[in-house]
Symmetry: C2
Subunit: 330 residues, 2 copies
């Protein structure tokens, strides 16, 4: 199959321009790609422009590619027009399986079979999405993390009919974009990112429903506790540092084998999403939001994440230099 | 009951001086308290000294209280000697319920009933720990997050026999120490912090056992994805920013009500902690550790967390200033 060179993609069609689609559009533009965005929504273009206004100063701080320009964006409500001439298609329509299946059926007809189509789905297996395609082998999940222009990770995983060479293509393409690619070999609902966060959210929801915790307390657990550690290192690296000089194995023997089951985890069914629970969460969330507007909170988050990415790199280099020095001196 | 003023504690007895106990000792010393540390371990004093050598430069960066000094530390292997004259007792013996029950029985005899005893237990309810005490009303869970001298959060929760006034006392005391206090009204195993992280770890372990993910991929999910967000904002604040300008309620309606159950979460029993699973995790963890020593990794983490705490404060202030300005101009 004569696919475009993944390192030399020029023209990208972005189907769906909401929070995630818009975030990918921002990132692609910042990396110098030409983008045709498609979205049938009445206010889609205006809200995309607002998203770009917000993202662009951040992307300038991260560093734009020389050829990057917001002028390279075209917008249309028409799918056929959007995909014409595209070297790659990123689909980010709402998370509704039947909608995705219909969109893929249509894209399959419109897009030449050598062109790869990646889905921003946050949880559906590609096997489900590609099931009515004539050329399913070029479809792949490419799930970014919100906001895509700021969070490096992207999950790549194929469906039953995806050609493994298309996975390779997608990995090369997103690495060229500058993403941190997580390639999964097995297809599961929610991939990795959402399985991990859903597990945590479920437990949070259980505690809130049982009045054992409030929304603000859950958020405090992350921002003043767990999130500070996970900003620096993942859970296994964190364990490795939690047992003196005995390391990960010793920590896991002590805690992982004993505590990771009831009564430390709620095993009753997840509470229903009732109007009462919804109202409780929204009311408690006021304490977290603390009068800040959404744009203000986004700006605050963006500043912190950019600073953190730089900080981490410096911390790693400093510690390595110092400990290498110590090892040499010893 | 004529308890010491929680804002005027001078002398603290720390029972157990391992990773957590030692971390609390470092923090208490940095805040100017006199500490008598007790630990029966053969190498306990030497490893406490190493921990303090590592923590002290960090605590200097955070800022020592004027009266802070490592000279205010005394060490003993004898519990009776340790608690003599203490205004407060912090217990951090290994996480073994029978051991804790025995230690509390002994502390209960040795420590005057007006003196509060706080436990660093990472998951046992105080009701279980205090069950053989004559004065259980002064015992309370005070669970810090490793490393205590760096991570602000501490969970405070009483047992059935804990006097609510003792909870108030503990909250005042730890606020004077400078902790971010999370006071729980209901007693559950694992409190909040560990319930949340155990839920996430369980899912990670399921994926690793099923060969759906590797240790390094799980850690990548946090350090290049989820952890970047949670370093800035908690999960509910994150949701609030993930639905355009529609906010939290809209996001939860779409995702929370549908996706937070199987097939997005593994509902099979947690795999047994077999030698095979243990070996797989340790082998895969090599990729995460990447040749770094534990002291090097600790230094790297400490640097990042300190920088992040400052960064976050600045990001919040900057965004508030800018958006307040915008609101005034509008």
């Amino acid at each position: 199959m004569n696919r475009p060179d993944p390192k030399n993609v020029k023209q990208i069609a972005c189907i769906g321009a909401g929070t995630i689609g818009g975030g990918m559009i921002a990132e692609f533009l910042a990396r110098g790609y030409s983008v045709t965005a498609q979205d049938p929504g009445k206010d889609a273009l205006a809200s995309l422009e607002r998203l770009l206004d917000q993202a662009w100063p951040i992307l300038e701080q991260i560093g734009l590619t020389a050829s990057a320009s917001r002028e390279r964006l075209r917008f249309t409500t028409d799918i056929e027009e959007a995909v014409a001439g595209a070297d790659f298609v990123q689909e980010s329509v709402p998370e509704d399986l039947e909608l995705k299946v219909r969109i893929y059926e249509r894209l399959d007809e419109l897009v030449p079979p050598e062109i790869v189509i990646g889905s921003s789905t946050s949880g559906f297996p590609m096997t489900e999405i590609q099931r009515r395609c004539k050329y399913p082998e070029r479809t792949v999940v490419a799930h970014p993390v919100n906001p895509p222009y700021l969070i490096p990770l992207i999950e790549i995983v194929g469906g039953e009919k995806t050609d493994p060479a298309v996975l390779d293509w997608a990995v090369s393409f997103y690495e060229a974009v500058g993403k941190r690619v997580l390639r999964m070999e097995k297809e599961i609902y929610g991939f990795m990112i959402n399985r991990l966060q859903i597990a945590l959210f479920r437990e949070a929801l259980q505690m809130i429903a049982a009045e054992q915790a409030t929304v603000a307390q859950i958020d405090d657990c992350l921002t003043h506790g767990l999130g500070l550690r996970w900003a620096s290192m993942g859970p296994f690296a964190t364990f490795h540092l939690a047992a003196g000089d005995r390391g990960l194995g010793s920590f896991m023997d002590l805690h992982g084998s004993v505590e990771w089951r009831a009564p430390y985890v709620t095993e009753t069914p997840l509470p229903d999403w009732t109007p009462e629970l919804r109202a409780r969460i929204l009311q408690q969330a006021e304490e977290v939001i603390d009068g800040r507007t959404i744009p203000q909170m986004i700006e605050e988050r963006n500043d912190t994440v950019i600073g953190l990415l730089k900080l981490r790199e410096a911390s790693r280099a400093n510690a390595a230099k110092k400990h290498l020095g110590a090892a040499h001196a010893a």
